[in-house]
């Protein structure tokens, strides 16, 4: 079977599997977010931390809860990393520098999982399990909680309450992420992903060299790494490492896992707003970008220009022989379009256009389908912008799902779409203006610039994948990228929750034939166009100096 055919079949199987999960999983999440019943274990937890599970929060309170929880997460993780040499199962790894520990703590609490360290040489098993894996769960849950609050803004009327963060967080972890993780971790283990508490094994290779190979609780972390769109690898090689990603099937499964929740959330949205067609429209836009991107990246990578590429039949540098071009392209598109950032091939080695597309995917703002929760709220914000402009063109004050988009709503939506471009561009601009920091680049010219652009795009959009090729473990990069991650994660959340509060207070406007329909192909096309134009116009100059300049001869 040719690699291309295999790629097509994998993609088809993926679409089929995601389509199968769309309804049951989406409905299940909607149910757990709206049910009035608490599980016994949940009630116990609420009692333990002193939370009233039946309370309903105003948006500022919801926001404070999110921020307090995330701040604690960062502090706890920072402490754990810095103190790990005093704790169990530390494998004797050296203590991490403060700037790198800050970067790592922020990275995992913001669902970014940017790694300026190498997993096997910097983290003991305890930190991996009790620190990083825990954040993989809760940071994913925070994203879903935020989008739940936004959806409640659409569904609720004349109230200032948007839900209870602690209940949302607990339920998403206990009822959604944990059960799925347990099932799929077992599947991964069954297919060869390791799960043990071994330290390093010294092995003599065929060439006669010695190699030190670590074991560890990999499968349990691997599954939530994908499912929660986190992406932080147990090993430095991430999903290219055979212990993390052992076979073609596990590779397919990992792509499926990193997409499944984000692609099912539009169903949750449709269900909660009482019109499933709204969910179909949103998922259609996400699907269009995902399919187009996967196809384009694979196409770019299998173009044979240059003698080395012709000899190999494709751009094979930096790609796993086990997976081939198609499975790498599919993985690269999926990981950069969700906020995952796991990699099974090295994006720095992609062709200029293939690599450029991975940057462009992230610049879309992680919305197709994006990170767990964050993808949907990002897409809904762009939908609001699209509805605003299109709504004017049908001669009414724009309204989305019965809620009017006035000055207040547009203020928050505008601030949202302003945040990440500002972080990416200012971050990249400052890095390029500092001669000392630029020295970190492996390459010169447009490719070197792409490496820096990629780093800031990845951090600000909470993707976490790296183009690699630059030395980012310097105090400056660790600090700057850490700031990008924090601001890129929490500022948008502030605006989303404020928007949710503003929407919830409104009285809904009944739909009439004069109302812009937001479930039809015309709207799908419009929203896709708005996404493309807004992102394209913002980043075109930067992309022109990086991948486009490199790719055009």
């Amino acid at each position: 079977m040719s690699s291309t055919l295999a790629g097509w079949l994998q993609a088809l199987a993926l679409v089929g599997a995601l389509a199968l999960c769309y309804r049951p999983l989406g409905d299940y999440i909607a149910k757990l977010l709206t049910s009035a019943k608490h599980l016994r274990v949940e009630r116990g937890l609420y009692k333990l931390v002193g939370v009233d599970g039946d309370a309903d929060q105003r948006w500022p309170v919801y926001l404070r809860s999110v921020l307090a929880f995330s701040a604690l997460s960062i502090l706890f993780l920072y402490g754990l990393i810095r103190l790990q040499n005093h704790l169990l199962l530390n494998l004797g790894v050296p203590v991490m520098e403060p700037h790198q520990a800050w970067n790592t703590a922020v990275s995992f609490a913001t669902n970014t999982n940017w790694q300026s360290y190498s997993g096997e040489s910097a983290m003991g098993h305890l930190v991996q399990m009790a620190g990083l894996a825990v954040q993989n769960f809760v940071s994913a849950a925070v994203g879903i909680a935020i989008v739940a609050a936004l959806i409640r803004g659409f569904t609720r009327n004349r109230t200032d309450r948007v839900g209870n963060f602690w209940v949302d967080l607990t339920r998403i972890c206990l009822r959604l992420l944990l059960p799925l993780s347990i099932v799929f971790a077992l599947v991964l283990v069954a297919n060869g992903v390791v799960q043990n508490f071994h330290g390093f094994h010294d092995i003599v290779t065929l060439g006669g060299d010695t190699q030190s190979i670590p074991g560890g609780p990999v499968a349990s972390q691997e599954v939530i790494k994908e499912l929660g769109t986190n992406g932080g690898g147990f090993f430095n090689a991430n999903s290219a490492h055979p212990f993390e990603n052992s076979t073609g099937f596990t590779n397919w499964l990992e792509i499926f896992l990193l997409l499944v929740i984000s692609f099912s959330l539009p169903r949750t949205f449709g269900r909660m707003v009482g019109d499933n067609r709204q969910g179909y429209a949103i998922v259609a836009v996400m699907g269009i970008f995902w399919v187009a991107s996967a196809a384009l990246i694979t196409f770019a990578e299998s173009q044979h220009s240059g003698s080395a590429l012709q000899a190999a039949g494709a751009a094979m540098e930096g790609k796993e022989q086990r997976f081939g071009v198609a499975a790498s392209g599919l993985f690269a598109a999926s990981t950069t379009l969700t906020s995952t950032g796991a990699v099974n091939s090295f994006h720095d080695s992609f062709t200029p256009f293939g690599g450029g597309l991975t940057i462009f995917n992230m610049m879309l703002g992680e919305i197709a389908p994006g990170g767990t929760g964050s993808g949907l709220y990002g897409m809904l914000i762009l939908a609001i912008v699209a509805v605003f402009v299109a709504g004017l063109m049908v001669g009414r004050t724009p309204e989305y799902l019965g809620k009017k988009l006035g000055g207040r709503e547009m203020k928050f939506a505008s601030l949202y779409i302003l945040t990440t471009p500002a972080l990416v561009l200012i971050g990249t601009g400052v890095a390029m203006a500092l001669p000392g920091e630029r020295a970190g680049m492996l390459n010169s010219g447009p490719h070197g610039f792409s490496e820096v652009l990629y780093a800031f795009t990845s951090a600000s959009n909470n993707n976490g994948s790296a183009f690699a090729g630059i030395t980012v473990n310097t105090p400056w990069y660790d600090t700057a990228l850490g700031l990008c991650m924090v601001l890129g994660r929490f500022l948008p959340m502030v605006f989303v929750l404020a928007l949710a509060g503003s929407l919830a207070q409104q009285q809904p406007v009944p739909a009439t034939p004069g109302t812009l329909p937001t479930h039809k192909p015309l709207f799908v096309g419009l929203l896709s166009g708005v996404v493309l134009i807004v992102v394209g116009l913002t980043y075109f100059p930067a992309l022109a100096l990086g991948p486009i300049a490199e790719g055009l001869h």
Binding site: V389, V394, G402, G407, E409, A413, I548
Partner: protein
């Protein structure tokens, strides 16, 4: 509810596509507005428009650069950037200029009149002469034929014909009388006959004319909610592009191609949404202006915007949906009577009936049965019985050879009693006809005759019905497609109301409506999140007018109604509510369309400017120069010139509003996306290329 009798507009005007024209853009007006446009360059004024403020700052920066390091290119960019700013101001100035012209006309009518104030009226008739501006709220003044009414108020004594052409432009005089719904008079209008006493209802300087002047001049203009929301979006896009360009410089420096200040400013101006930024306020002013041209005064821009959002229209039956009065529609003879006999008797008995209903019977007999209307004088020996509200009958007694021929026509009950009192009986056939007409929502009038002293005989029944204005059904279908529900308000009983509602094709009706019912209906609709528009003229309409989101008061109405509504229709034509809704929609569509156009334009500008900036260091980028522009400097200059010219080119569209045909949201969106979205992508490619073909010959740009 009084009816305002406006003759129905000619059919072709009603059904013509509602292309709302704004009059041609007068080149003279542009020249006249130029000084105002330059005056608006004051940064304190410009800051209110963030997009154009950025352009102005950019113009200053390039001017400084051009002085420090002069070149043809630098000066070309500088000049065109200043022109861009001036063009934007020109759009606003032209829009305001049209209002100013109107205000001047109004102001001329506002000559300082002397008022004859009545001291201690009505106890005494003592008068004193005071200046019109000295009148206080509650003063009484007397105005006689030939004098100008000194201030707004209500007639409290007398009746007069008044020439209101100064404010309505309508030369036919109107009647104003004390009491009732036609008591309001406007300062500046002229009494043509008789004498009235007016109680002043406005404070000096706050009269209706004063407010009109302020409105059309735009002095009272505030940004509307939707304009604010759009401004926020535009400001954030501006910031995004500012960041994109400012951070581009270090990237460009790394690439070995640092850019000059002139080029960076040019890129910013090309990218930020200048087209819509420049035209935004002109669109709003022009929207109000289009209403003024239709003789509607909106008290705020917010009301115009709300008109576009209206979900429910409350329309008075009389005058809006139906012609003013019921008309005879057919003659239904009793058994054994021919329809011609009935028509003849009906006509004879109606000759003395001067009510519109009576006239319509004479007309129907003439047009339907060829019976010439006989003048009352040509029938001698006739004793006329005129119609009165008490008898509810009219008729004639003709002295003929065989005795007196008495013919009567009137309300079923009255004629039936006339017949029975004179010894006759009304047959079951008549009763059936009467019930049938009533059930269909019509009014039955019975015709009976008596020869000599014989028993009178009922000849048949006249069917009077409301005549729905032509084209109304289509209009309501159109409204339904736009998502607007129409509710007919009438004082009729539910049966009658339903019949008319069905015929006119309205969605719902409110029968036997009292002002309280109306108010309750508005509140019910609003509780469901709907926006309601209505018209009204009586004092008892005032609370409902105030409650409605769009309340259009008729100019013939009372001062209280005019105060309560947020629009005044100087023509007092209730059908105009539909046009008002369309103008509101058109205003929003124009904003959306130009925003889309403006943003879509950026694509082409990138393809012009980016290769011009970087093809030198990265030759591959010359592939992006798909327009094949002559040189980097000519490419950038072309983009900037296009950017400026497109503002001028779109001023007429901004003032006139985009073409609007009532239809559902999807087809509107498809059309406007096609024209302004796709057009916005394509037009600049052509425009920039065309400009480049010309300016490449300018030395210094090639």
């Amino acid at each position: 509810m009084s009816s305002t009798l406006t003759p129905p507009a000619p059919v072709e005007q009603e059904q013509a596509p509602h292309r709302v024209s704004g009059g041609l853009l007068d080149p003279q007006l542009i020249v006249k507005s130029l000084p105002d446009a330059v005056k608006k360059l004051d940064p304190r004024v410009m800051i209110k428009n963030p997009v154009m403020f950025v352009v102005e700052v950019g113009s200053v920066v390039t001017t400084v650069s051009a002085i420090a390091d002069p070149s043809v290119f630098a000066w070309a960019i500088t000049v065109w950037l200043w022109l861009t700013t001036v063009f934007a101001n020109l759009a606003e100035a032209v829009a305001e200029g049209r209002g100013k012209a109107q205000a001047d006309t109004l102001r001329r009518t506002k000559t300082d009149t002397m008022a004859r104030r009545l001291v201690n009226w009505p106890a005494s008739q003592a008068e004193e002469e005071v200046s019109g501006t000295a009148l206080q709220l509650g003063d009484h003044v007397v105005v006689e034929a030939g004098q100008i009414i000194p201030g707004d108020g209500d007639v409290v004594e007398g009746v007069a014909s008044v020439d209101e052409s100064a404010i309505t432009g309508e030369s036919a005089p109107v009647i104003r009388e004390s009491g009732g719904d036609r008591s309001a008079v406007t300062g500046g209008t002229k009494v043509l006959s008789d004498r009235i006493v007016v109680k002043i209802a406005s404070e000096p300087g706050k009269s209706f004319i004063d407010r009109m002047i302020a409105l059309v001049e735009g002095a009272a203009r505030q940004k509307t909610p939707n304009e604010i929301a759009l401004n926020i979006l535009l400001a954030s896009l501006t910031i995004v592009f500012l960041i994109a360009v400012v951070t581009l410089q270090p990237m460009a420096t790394f690439a070995g191609a640092p850019q000059s200040m002139i080029v960076l400013v040019a890129l910013i101006v090309a990218l930020i949404p200048t087209t819509i930024g420049a035209l935004l306020s002109a669109i709003g002013i022009a929207g109000m202006d289009r209403l003024v041209q239709r003789n509607v005064l909106a008290m705020s821009g917010r009301a115009v915007e709300a008109a576009g959002d209206v979900n429910t229209l409350l329309l008075d039956k009389t005058g809006t949906i139906t012609l003013g009065n019921r008309q005879a529609a057919e003659f239904q003879p009793a058994t054994g009577v021919t329809v011609e006999e009935l028509a003849d008797a009906a006509q004879l008995s109606s000759l003395a009936d001067e009510t519109p209903e009576g006239r319509s019977i004479v007309v129907l007999a003439k047009t339907g049965y060829g019976l010439r209307a006989r003048a009352q004088g040509e029938l001698t020996h006739a004793t006329w019985v005129p119609f009165t509200a008490q008898t509810r009958m009219s008729g004639v007694d003709l002295d003929e050879a065989d005795g007196v021929h008495a013919v009567r026509k009137g309300a079923a009950g009255s004629v039936t009693s006339w017949v029975t009192e004179n010894g006759g009986t009304v047959g079951q056939d008549i009763a059936t006809l009467v019930d049938g007409i009533s059930a269909a929502g019509g009014t039955p009038l019975v015709v009976a005759s008596r020869v000599g002293t014989a028993a009178p005989k009922a000849l048949g029944v006249i069917h009077l019905k409301d005549v729905v204005k032509e084209g109304m059904k289509e209009r309501f279908d159109e409204l339904r497609r736009m998502g607007i529900r129409t509710i007919m308000i009438t004082g009729d009983n539910p049966l009658t109301a339903k019949a008319i509602a069905d015929e006119a094709g309205v969605d719902d009706f409110l029968a036997e409506a009292t002002p309280e019912d109306k108010m309750a209906l508005i509140k019910k609709e609003q509780a469901g999140g709907k926006l309601v528009a209505m018209t009204g003229d009586g004092t008892n309409d005032a609370p409902a007018l105030a409650q409605a989101d769009v309340g259009v008061a008729m100019n013939t109405g009372t001062m209280a109604a005019k105060e309560a509504g947020n629009m005044v229709d100087l023509d007092s034509n209730p059908t105009k509510l539909i046009e008002i809704v369309e103008i509101g929609k058109q205003l929003l569509i124009t904003r959306g369309a130009l925003t889309t156009f403006s943003i879509a334009n950026d694509v082409a500008k990138y393809f012009a400017i980016i290769p011009a900036m970087f093809a030198g260091v990265y030759p591959g980028l010359r592939h992006l120069n798909i327009m094949g522009l002559h040189s980097p400097t000519s490419a950038i200059t072309s983009a900037i010139i296009f950017n400026a010219l497109v503002i001028i080119g779109l001023i007429p569209l901004a003032l006139r509003g985009v073409k609007y045909r009532p239809s559902d949201a999807s087809s509107l969106l498809r059309r406007n996306l096609g024209v302004y979205g796709f057009g916005g992508l394509v037009v600049p490619f052509i425009g920039i290329k065309a400009i480049d073909l010309i300016i490449q010959f300018i030395p210094g740009l090639s």
